[in-house]
Symmetry: C2
């Protein structure tokens, strides 16, 4: 019975080797992270999904605040005239915004878009709030949702409304803005590696791929299990471009009027998609302990036998001071509970039955490796604590090994074509810096430049495409 039920649950997931996209959708639904809604392209984030986002928020926010970031909240609406003030910016976003045209029963005199991002609102705010060098710097962030009217949507990865944080800063000097841009990129990279167990490539976007209105865009790029890339966070240096468009000036110490220099940086709920696609397996979700809403699930075996449930609760009570723990005391069979615990990605499962109690031990099973060990009951807390650390560390290592094993080098176009014909992953290749070559590669290979990594290598001296002298090594990939 247990076996059959459990099997039924697992069979409902397509294997990732067979159809990765379907596997992803199955996990998202079966692990109860998300539900579709009557609102096309918008999703419900269910408790199991939202709890991951809360853990991401809390830990990312702490890291922000440690660098002096202050949280604020700006309106969700942008008057059309405000959106239009910075030319490149409006061109980038106008085609994909939602427009409010009526308030109550009246048509509006000026239509408002629902924010796709808030650079223009922050500029409008800073224009009135910054007067003197004493008012600088401003290092503000907000947690909110934004709307982009996408045609194709996928849970967490691309939806018409998504949750994110957007940091917006204003500085007295170009140097300070530049430093803050890189500082936040480093916060993002460190967060991905240390908390999400996802290794990332840090680098700069090409002119073609940079943010609408930015001087320079920096990115962290992660590799999913299917070899596709996911842009996981971006940090933009605006220089004084927005300041000039919006007239954000301050009186400096030398008593002259100067424009501020600005940055913005954001991370979104697509990080949850990254967690699924980097760590998940054919049994379902695998959560890094630091963002697992339940870190330990205690499953009683033969729970109707006297003392079993009580012992399970006792173990929970011993663990709950230091870990996020629950007992699955539902009337499902143990086999079903195991399959469900695996589907939901709980890092550690603790099994406790009459024989275990008699022997003064329990069985601990790791979700990531599915390895089982017997643990004396009096060593429970210690073992769980150490194991969660090990799991967190080894998940990062495995993801790094996978990423490195799927990172290739192309010395020439033939090699470049062959790699993307046969494989999926990052390809490193040299580039002359001309958009013609970038366009040609994109068109011919259906890949995009992911970034010019900070850690440059000189693979060749010439561009992989045109043979002219190379300026940068670029990471290429197919991206979500």
């Amino acid at each position: 019975m247990a076996e059959k039920e459990a099997k039924k649950m697992v069979e409902a997931i397509t294997s990732m080797e067979e159809d990765f996209a379907q596997w992803y959708t199955d996990v998202v639904k079966k692990a109860e992270l998300i539900d579709y809604t009557s609102v096309k392209g918008c999703m419900v984030i269910k408790p199991a999904g939202y709890a991951i986002w809360e853990l991401i928020q809390r830990q990312l926010d702490d890291r922000f605040k440690a660098t002096g970031v202050e949280n604020v909240y700006l309106p969700m609406f942008i008057p059309e005239s405000l959106l239009e003030k910075e030319k490149d910016h409006v061109e980038g976003f106008a085609p994909e915004v939602a427009w409010v045209t009526h308030g109550g029963l009246q048509p509006l005199t000026e239509r408002l878009c629902v924010r796709p991002t808030s650079e223009t609102l922050f500029c409008d705010f800073y224009k009135n709030d910054v007067h003197s060098y004493r008012d600088l710097h401003k290092v503000y962030n907000q947690w909110c949702s934004v709307v982009r009217w996408e045609k194709e949507t996928r849970p967490f990865l691309r939806s018409r409304e998504f949750l994110w944080q957007e940091g917006h800063t204003a500085h007295a000097t170009a140097e300070e803005a530049s430093e803050r841009t890189i500082q936040m990129l480093n916060v993002y990279a460190d967060f991905c590696e240390q908390v999400l167990a996802i290794p990332v490539i840090k680098g700069q976007k090409t002119e073609k791929e940079k943010f609408a209105g930015a001087l320079a865009t920096y990115t962290i790029e992660a590799l999913m299990h299917d070899g596709k890339a996911l842009q996981s966070g971006t940090s933009h240096n605006f220089g004084d471009g927005f300041a000039k468009a919006f007239g954000i000036q301050f009186t400096d110490k030398d008593n002259t009027l100067k424009y501020v220099h600005q940055t913005s940086w954001g991370m979104t709920t697509r990080l949850i998609g990254a967690i699924i696609m980097v760590h998940g397996d054919n049994e379902g979700l695998v959560l890094p302990p630091k963002v697992a809403p339940i870190q330990v699930c205690v499953i009683p075996i033969q729970q109707k036998k006297e003392g079993v449930l009580d012992k399970a609760y006792e173990l929970r009570d011993r663990l709950k001071g230091n870990f996020r723990v629950k007992v699955d005391d539902t009337d499902k069979t143990p086999g079903y509970k195991f399959a469900e615990a695996e589907m939901r990605g709980y890092p550690i499962r603790v099994e406790i039955g009459p024989k275990d109690i008699e022997a003064g031990r329990c069985v601990i099973c790791r979700r990531d490796t599915r390895e089982k060990i017997e643990v004396p009951l009096d060593a429970l807390e210690e073992t769980v604590g150490a194991l969660l650390e090990t799991i967190q560390k080894e998940m990062l290592e495995r993801a790094r090994t996978h990423r490195d094993a799927h990172t290739y080098v192309a010395h020439n176009m033939e090699e470049f074509r062959r790699i993307f014909g046969e494989k999926s992953g990052f390809v490193k290749a040299m580039w002359c810096g001309e958009q013609d070559c970038e366009d040609k590669i994109k068109e011919e290979l259906s890949v995009t430049s992911r970034c010019m990594p900070f850690e440059q290598e000189e693979i060749e001296q010439t561009c992989v495409c045109c043979g002219k002298p190379a300026k940068k090594m670029v990471y290429w990939g197919r991206a979500y």
Copy 2:
């Protein structure tokens, strides 16, 4: 110099006795809680304001979770056809919603409103998510912003977009829904008293004042310093009305199909307005310690003298493990810093100068009473800890005393008219339960029924208005 500057800052606030509304606006601006924007009726919540909201969120969310609430996120858009499914509900909200009519460059086939509240979305979600009694109860909540196209707006109290939490639950029985409605009202009341130091009256709204689509609406009502009432949180019991309109059915244990019973409950950023208007004074904001982003502000006196700043930092470092503390080490004068610390409502100010250091003491000043005491440096942590508790407690007591002193009893219409002619506050009066009398009182006295309190008293046996037998004692007031 110090005196003059400090005076300038304080003079910029209108006194509350002179013009309470202007005093409120001055405090909101001068304490840097809020800024106006180019988006009519929408505000920027600045760092000092948002940090209060974060403390409210964290503590309220903890209380929710202790009762089994799980957080989720639903879309911000509601298709018009969905909003229209429950007749009373759409009538209540349609006149004040914002409509999205275009997505990207295309007109939408069906217009979407920006959520004014999410009952309809939760119903649409539960309809697909609830099948069996095993799927119940659902006790979900979301933190988000909502939009209501108000004509008159005031910072925190009424704006076109505001932040809130909205809980939405579904239960197998009417009893369970009814219990949850009251349970959450009690959570709200306890939170207001224990965290915000604001005493509230718990009660039920009349038919006239209840929420659009609800069976019963419960409320907590607080009294502001000017004697006006503020509805500070509401909890609604929907019975199975929405379930019938949306077809939310489940198979019960007895194998029959039944409709679920639902509730919703919400609190908003207007709580920040309540804090200002209950506790503030003519020097500015006064924050209860539990929601004060800065609880202790250390102000160095003659900070250029050797050792003073170092000592200030040392005191901060000693306090920062247990309290939210900062040193004001700007180049402003001490007098200016005092005035600013008062304006911003920091519960405790610690003054430390060369003479204090020599004497091994510091001066501690309470924001709420402005009382000063000298404290030996080695008793600092202990004194601050005890004082913050005392302040929290006494602020509630003072607010309760003020509320009680401004709560009157009207035995007949003449008395009723006279009280509201001369005074401002709550008036308790008996009511027959007929809307005719409620309308008449509202029109004649420009007051609304605030609630039928749970703690009923029999002031008279007859209705204050018509003289027929009374059914309920009602609190009346002028409300924000």
